[in-house]
C-alpha cells in the first residue's frame, strides 16, 4: 500500500484544476438554464442569482415529456436486450467453433465497423420501407439492435479467455448447446454484459440521426428529439432549449452515476482485451 505522500498531494491539486477546466462546458450548460437570455449574455459563467425554475417549468410544459420519455425508454430497453442476446450468442458460436464458416463470419461482422451510417442512408431507408418499419417503434428497435455487432466484438474477446472445461463437462453430462450457454457461460459474461448494456443504453438514448430519419410522428418521438425543436436556425430560444437539454440528459446522467462502479468493474474484468 503506497503511502499518501506530498508529491501525490500536489498532483491532486493540479488534477483538481485540470478537472475544473475540463468541466467548464458542462458547468456552463447547467448554470445557463437558471438565467434569462440577458443574464446569459451579461455573465455566461457566473453563478445564477437565483435558482429560477421558471425555465424548467416552461420547458416541461412545451415538451410531451412523459410520452417522449416512454418512447425513449421502450426503444432503448428492448433494443439493449436484443443486443445482449444476439451479440452474446453469436460471439459464443464464433469463439467456440473454429471452422472456416465461423472464421469468415468473424471477419464479416467487422465490416460493420467500417461503414459510416451516411453512406447507406437511402438504401437503408428503402430496406426499412419494404419491411414497413418506417415511423414505427419496432422499426427503431430493429435498427438499433444492429449494435449487436459491437457487443459481439466485446463478447468474443472475453469468451476466448474462458476455459472450455466447464462447457465440456456440461456436454458430457448430456446438456445441449443452448442450455449450456445460458446456464453456464452467460452468467460468467456478466462484466461484459454490464459494459454492453451501459454503453448501448447511452448511445441509443442519445441517438439523433436514426431517430430523426426514421421516426416522424410527434407521438413517437424520443426525448432527444424535443431538444432539437428548440434549436432551429431561426428560432433560438435558449431559455427553453437549455432546460430541455438538461431534462433530456438527466436520465442519462443519473443512469451513468448509478452505473459508474459497474462500468469500471466491467472494464476491469477484461472485457476489452482484443
Amino acid at each position: 500500500m503506497k503511502k499518501y505522500k506530498l508529491p501525490t498531494f500536489l498532483l491532486e491539486v493540479c488534477m483538481f484544476f485540470v478537472c475544473a477546466v475540463f468541466v467548464i462546458p458542462i458547468y456552463y450548460l447547467v448554470v445557463s438554464t437558471f438565467k434569462t437570455q440577458a443574464q446569459i449574455i451579461a455573465s455566461p459563467l457566473g453563478l445564477p442569482t437565483s435558482l429560477n425554475l421558471d425555465n424548467y417549468v416552461k420547458a416541461l410544459g412545451t415538451m410531451h415529456f412523459f410520452q417522449n420519455f416512454l418512447n425513449s425508454f421502450v426503444i432503448t430497453s428492448v433494443a439493449v436486450v436484443l443486443i445482449v442476446v444476439c451479440g452474446s450468442m453469436a460471439a459464443y458460436a464464433i469463439a467456440r467453433r473454429k471452422n472456416k464458416f465461423m472464421n469468415f463470419l468473424g471477419i464479416y461482422f467487422l465490416i460493420g465497423f467500417l461503414v459510416p451510417v451516411q453512406t447507406t442512408m437511402l438504401p437503408l431507408f428503402l430496406v426499412m420501407k419494404n419491411l414497413h418499419a418506417i415511423n414505427t417503434l419496432p422499426g427503431m428497435i430493429f435498427l438499433h439492435s444492429n449494435g449487436c455487432v459491437f457487443a459481439f466484438f466485446l463478447y468474443r474477446g472475453f469468451i476466448r479467455t474462458l476455459p472450455p472445461e466447464l462447457e465440456e463437462a456440461a456436454f458430457m453430462d448430456g446438456a445441449g448447446v443452448f442450455r449450456t450457454f445460458w446456464s453456464i457461460v452467460f452468467p460468467l459474461l456478466t462484466p461484459v454484459t454490464a459494459t454492453v448494456v451501459i454503453f448501448n443504453t447511452m448511445w441509443i438514448w442519445n441517438d439523433f440521426l436514426l431517430t430523426y430519419l426514421f421516426l416522424s410522428s410527434t407521438s413517437k418521438a424520443t426525448l432527444i428529439m424535443q431538444v432539437y425543436n428548440g434549436m432551429g436556425q431561426y428560432i433560438n430560444d435558449w431559455s427553453i432549449m437549455m432546460p430541455v437539454l438538461v431534462l433530456a440528459l438527466l436520465p442519462m446522467v443519473i443512469f451513468y452515476l448509478a452505473m459508474q462502479k459497474k462500468i469500471m468493474g466491467g472494464l476491469t474484468a477484461g472485457s476489452i482485451k482484443g
Partner: protein, 294 residues
C-alpha cells in the same frame, strides 16, 4: 449438406439472429450503395440509368469533394494519435493513490455520456469568434484582442480535433485504466528491486501489457474519427467555407440534398475503401506489435 450435422446446427442458430439483423441493416444497404454508384440515380425520380464509372471520375475532379476527403483523413488520423498519447498517461494518473480519483474518473469519462451534437453546440459558444464567445469574452475583458478561432480555416480544424480529443480521452483512459489495474503488481515490485526507475518500469512492463488494449482502442478511435459526423457538423457545420467539411457531410449535401444519389454512392464506396485500407493496415501492424511484445 455434409457439415450441418446435429452438432453444428445449434451453433448456426446462435449466429442467425445477429447475422440477419446485421445483413439487413448494414450489408444489403452497402451492396445497394455499390450498385447505385454506377448509376445516375437522383434519389427522387424512379428512373435511372447505368453510367459506368462516370461518378467515380467526378469524385476526383470535384474540388470540395476532394477537400472533404482530405479533411476526413486529417481528422481521422490525427485524433487517434493525440487521444492515445493523452489517454495512457491519464490512465496512469487515475491509477494513483489520489483521494479524489473516483471523482476524477467520473469527470473525465463524462463527455462520453452526452451526445456529440450537444457538445458541439456548447463548444461553439466557448470558441465563438464573436465578442460573446467565452474565450473571446475573457480576452476582451483582459484588454487583449479577440481571436478568430472558429472563423479561421486552419484553426477551425485544429480546434475541432482538440474538442474531439476532449470528448474521447476520458473514455479511452478508462479502458487503459482497467487494463493497467489487471497487470500483476509483482512485476513492478520485482523491477523496483532491480533498480528500474519509474519510466523504465512503464516502458518495460506497463506498455507491453497494454498492447492488446492499444490495438483495440486505436482501431475504435480510427474508425470512429474517420466516420465522424456529429461533432464536426455541430461545431462548425463544415465551415468556414469547406475547411472542416467531412466526407460524411459531403455525402449528404451532395447526395440526398442535391438529388445525386449515384454520385454520393461513389463517394461512399471510395470512402469505405479508404477506411478499410487504413483500418486493416492498423490492425495488422499493431497486431504484429502485440505479438512481438508478448
Amino acid at each position: 449438406m455434409r457439415f450441418i450435422k446435429r452438432k453444428e446446427f445449434p451453433y448456426l442458430l446462435f449466429v442467425l439472429p445477429a447475422l440477419l439483423i446485421y445483413s439487413t441493416i448494414t450489408i444489403i444497404p452497402v451492396i445497394n450503395t455499390f450498385v447505385y454508384s454506377f448509376t445516375n440515380f437522383d434519389g427522387l425520380s424512379p428512373k435511372f440509368n447505368f453510367i459506368g464509372i462516370a461518378n467515380y471520375l467526378k469524385v476526383f475532379t470535384t474540388n470540395n469533394v476532394i477537400t472533404s476527403f482530405v479533411n476526413s483523413i486529417e481528422y481521422g488520423l490525427v485524433s487517434p494519435v493525440l487521444v492515445t498519447l493523452l489517454a495512457i498517461p491519464l490512465a496512469l494518473l487515475l491509477d494513483s493513490q489520489m483521494k479524489t480519483r473516483n471523482i476524477q474518473r467520473a469527470v473525465f469519462f463524462f463527455p462520453s455520456v452526452i451526445s456529440a451534437l450537444f457538445l458541439g453546440y456548447i463548444w461553439n459558444f466557448i470558441l465563438s469568434p464573436s465578442d460573446y464567445g467565452l474565450i473571446n469574452g475573457i480576452l476582451l475583458a483582459l484588454g487583449r484582442n479577440k481571436l478568430l478561432l472558429l472563423s479561421d480555416p486552419g484553426m477551425a480544424m485544429v480546434l475541432l480535433i482538440l474538442v474531439n480529443v476532449w470528448c474521447s480521452t476520458g473514455w479511452h483512459a478508462c479502458i487503459y485504466l482497467a487494463n493497467i489495474q489487471m497487470i500483476d503488481k509483482s512485476y513492478y515490485e520485482a523491477a523496483e528491486i532491480d533498480g528500474a526507475g519509474g519510466f523504465d518500469r512503464f516502458k518495460t512492463i506497463t506498455l507491453p501489457n497494454l498492447a492488446p488494449a492499444m490495438t483495440v482502442s486505436v482501431m475504435l478511435l480510427l474508425t470512429g474519427s474517420l466516420k465522424a459526423f456529429d461533432l464536426p457538423f455541430a461545431l462548425t457545420n463544415g465551415g468556414p467555407g469547406y475547411a472542416t467539411t467531412m466526407v460524411t457531410q459531403t455525402i449528404i449535401t451532395e447526395g440526398i440534398n442535391s438529388n445525386r444519389v449515384g454520385f454520393a454512392s461513389a463517394m461512399s464506396v471510395l470512402f469505405l475503401l479508404v477506411i478499410s485500407v487504413v483500418t486493416i493496415f492498423q490492425v495488422r501492424s499493431m497486431g504484429k506489435r502485440e505479438e512481438n511484445l508478448s
